[in-house]
């Protein structure tokens, strides 16, 4: 046990202690401030997870930067956040590809230098000239990852053969067990594919749009709920929902890694690709470091991080990225079919014409689709 005088001394600082500590703090304050200031903050607008340590931690450490993410859910939400903020608020913006055109049209993003990015290493020709990313031969956004949406299901409730068609959602045994991701665009796109609209799934005339609505309404008795990301995740995990419409491996992949009996597949009628792209915010003063970050995300290391992303996985879009994934994490490469020759290899699916890039309705407004979605939920 310590002598009593020592304990008393520890608990009662003398005037000299106070002066010493206070003086030290006062003298070191400017250096603390300077050390703080030397870390560059990058304001990021993105879907949840992209600004988390598993994605940006290594880049932050190597470049002495700090990402300050602002997360959104849905392209509309993203556009609104930008519209309501002063120019230059966001340095880097991750958006769904179908919204890039609107970002550019509104003047929210800077032109990129195509020479900065590895276009010659892309896994598919489409990725080099992705729709909406170029305007007048100028590049405005750089695709970094993608994922496919199709039939997501509990493997104990439906077989792979049954899941090979959207018809599985109407299966009698799944009554009340089919869930919806609560966003009209992917679900109505899938219903359009089920109706045989193929590549024209977003370009529906009045008759085709009515038919899509009719097909969707016929699914309503099967539906057990409408969920956000957390609800979808929980519903599949605890078995409340045995099939999910409107999602894909970006949710089931996370559960699958934990051993849940769920899977996603691209049915014979076709699937939808979500595509995520980075743009640099208009008037950002940190364009150089943002360019470096986009290059990092397209590097083999960045592509592997994207494929392993904790929040939701995406597939690699560069050859070097895919090769590195197969080398460092063959289990994930195999699970996500990112291997040449595997059935459901995302690139092979695109080549076979079974994948259609997500878009917005061509002959109706988003409002029309949303109105119908509200009616459907109330039906």
């Amino acid at each position: 046990m310590k002598p009593k005088h020592l304990i008393t001394r520890r608990m009662t600082p003398t005037r000299r202690d106070v002066l010493r500590i206070g003086g030290g703090m006062a003298l070191s304050a400017p250096f603390v401030g300077r050390a703080w200031a030397s870390t560059t903050e990058i304001n990021m607008l993105a879907w949840y997870g992209h600004g988390e340590p598993d994605m940006v931690g290594a880049f932050e450490e190597a470049n002495n930067v700090k990402f300050v993410p602002k997360y959104y859910a849905g392209g509309d939400n993203m556009l609104a956040l930008i519209a309501q903020s002063p120019p230059g608020t966001y340095d880097i913006i991750l958006s769904d590809a179908e919204f890039v055109q609107q970002l550019n049209a509104a003047g929210y993003i800077e032109e990129l230098n195509a020479a900065d990015y590895p276009f010659d290493d892309m896994l598919h020709e489409d990725f080099t000239k992705f729709p909406g990313h170029w305007a007048d031969d100028k590049l405005y956004s750089m695709m970094v990852r993608g994922g496919h949406l199709g039939v997501s299901y509990n493997t104990t409730a439906a077989s792979a053969e049954e899941a090979a068609s959207y018809e599985v959602f109407w299966k009698e045994d799944l009554k009340g067990k089919v869930g919806h991701f609560d966003w009209h665009l992917p679900t109505l796109g899938m219903m359009s594919l089920k109706n045989g609209n193929g590549a024209g799934l977003w370009d529906l005339d009045d008759a085709a749009w009515s038919a899509v609505q009719e097909t969707t309404l016929s699914l309503r008795p099967q539906v057990g709920g409408f969920f956000d990301y957390g609800g979808t995740f929980n519903g599949l995990k605890n078995g409340e929902m045995l099939a999910m419409c409107g999602i894909g491996d970006w949710i089931t992949g996370v559960l699958e890694r934990d051993g849940a009996p769920v899977a996603s597949t691209i049915p014979k009628e076709g699937g939808i690709q979500f595509t995520e792209s980075y743009s640099i915010g208009k008037d950002s003063e940190k364009a150089d470091i943002c360019t470096k970050f986009i290059q990092y995300m397209l590097s083999p290391e960045g592509q592997v991080k994207s494929a392993q992303m904790v929040a939701y996985p995406g597939f690699c879009i560069t050859k070097a990225g895919r090769a590195m994934l197969q080398e460092v994490d063959p289990a994930e490469a195999k699970r996500s079919h990112q291997m040449e020759g595997m059935a459901n290899d995302p690139i092979a699916l695109i080549n076979e014409g079974r994948i259609h890039y997500r878009d917005i309705p061509q002959q109706q407004s988003l409002e029309d689709w949303n109105d119908f979605w509200s009616e459907y939920k109330n039906a």
């Binding site: 509309d76 939400n77 609104a80 078995g239 988003l366 409002e367 939920k377 109330n378």
Partner: protein, 282 residues
């Protein structure tokens, strides 16, 4: 008689008046104003157009959500009042002062934790593979679907409101003059008749206020119908979210919000009028 202006008293009243003007009346007027604005390129633009009102009030799904929200909040209020009454009665008339104090303290404890967390905890209990179905399974019953149903929604509402209703009912009944109850019993009134003819009329105001609070909280709650009810059918708070999510239609969401407030004002005024209506029990 003309009242003298009392500067001292007014000084004490001013902060609450300013507070209400700044954080209630101001935002309310702003909400009414934006219901006439329009959205262009995801940005709200000042205007005075009826388009949002016409659009929302002419849609069938708005009225479906409206009546469903009133219905499910009404069910929740009825269930909460019925479930709370026996407990409150026992606490008010049977429990010692000390026990009552402890019970009220324990009823307050749920409010220390996040309502969202409490709601999510129901997943473990109500899921088909959850605690309740496991217990029912032991006696050969079930499994029953409880999550993503109206039942789930009501359970969520009760999580929010039941402790509050019990507290309000208990405090109200504890203040009933017990000599009147004893008098009724001495005069031969049976127990149930005593409750009906003495306790309820004397606690009417507090009970109506408890029911009103329960209805208001349920009517405006987003969490329970979304997470435990699976959004089927969508209530008005869910409709507000859907409206803002798609196209950032804050003006249309304002229309829904104003309709909700108008409904609550009407119900609250009716309830208060009923609570303080003169003409007692016979």
């Amino acid at each position: 008689m003309k009242r003298k202006f009392d500067l001292y008293a007014m000084t004490w009243r001013l902060p609450i008046i300013f507070w209400q003007l700044l954080f209630f009346v101001g935002p309310l007027l702003f909400m009414v104003a934006i219901s006439f604005f329009v959205v262009k390129n995801y940005r709200m633009t000042e205007a005075f157009e009826m388009v949002n009102w016409q659009k929302m009030l002419s849609r069938g799904y708005f009225w479906d959500s409206y009546w469903y929200t009133i219905f499910i909040a009404g069910i929740s209020t009825t269930v909460a009042m019925l479930l709370a009454f026996p407990a409150s009665f026992a606490l008010a008339f049977r429990a010692s002062d000390n026990l009552r104090r402890w019970a009220i303290f324990l009823l307050i404890i749920p409010f220390f934790t996040s309502y969202l967390v409490r709601t999510f905890s129901w997943y473990v209990i109500l899921a088909e593979s959850g605690v309740v179905n496991a217990m029912l399974g032991q006696i050969g019953l079930g499994p029953f679907k409880m999550l993503n149903t109206h039942f789930g929604t009501v359970i969520g509402y009760l999580t929010l409101t039941l402790p509050l209703v019990v507290i309000l009912q208990t405090v109200t009944m504890a203040n009933v003059d017990k000599t009147l109850i004893e008098a009724a019993r001495n005069l031969g009134c049976k127990p149930l008749a005593t409750i009906w003819r003495v306790v309820l009329p004397l606690s009417k105001t507090g009970l109506i206020v408890a029911a009103l609070f329960c209805f208001i909280l349920s009517f405006g709650d987003f969490v329970a119908p979304f997470y435990l009810g699976g959004s089927q059918e969508p209530t008005l708070p869910i409709l507000i979210l859907d409206t803002t999510k798609s196209g950032q239609q804050w003006p249309r969401a304002a229309v829904v919000a104003i309709m909700m407030m108008a409904t609550l004002f009407t119900i609250a005024f009716a309830a208060i009028a009923l609570a303080y209506r003169k003409g007692g029990a016979r």
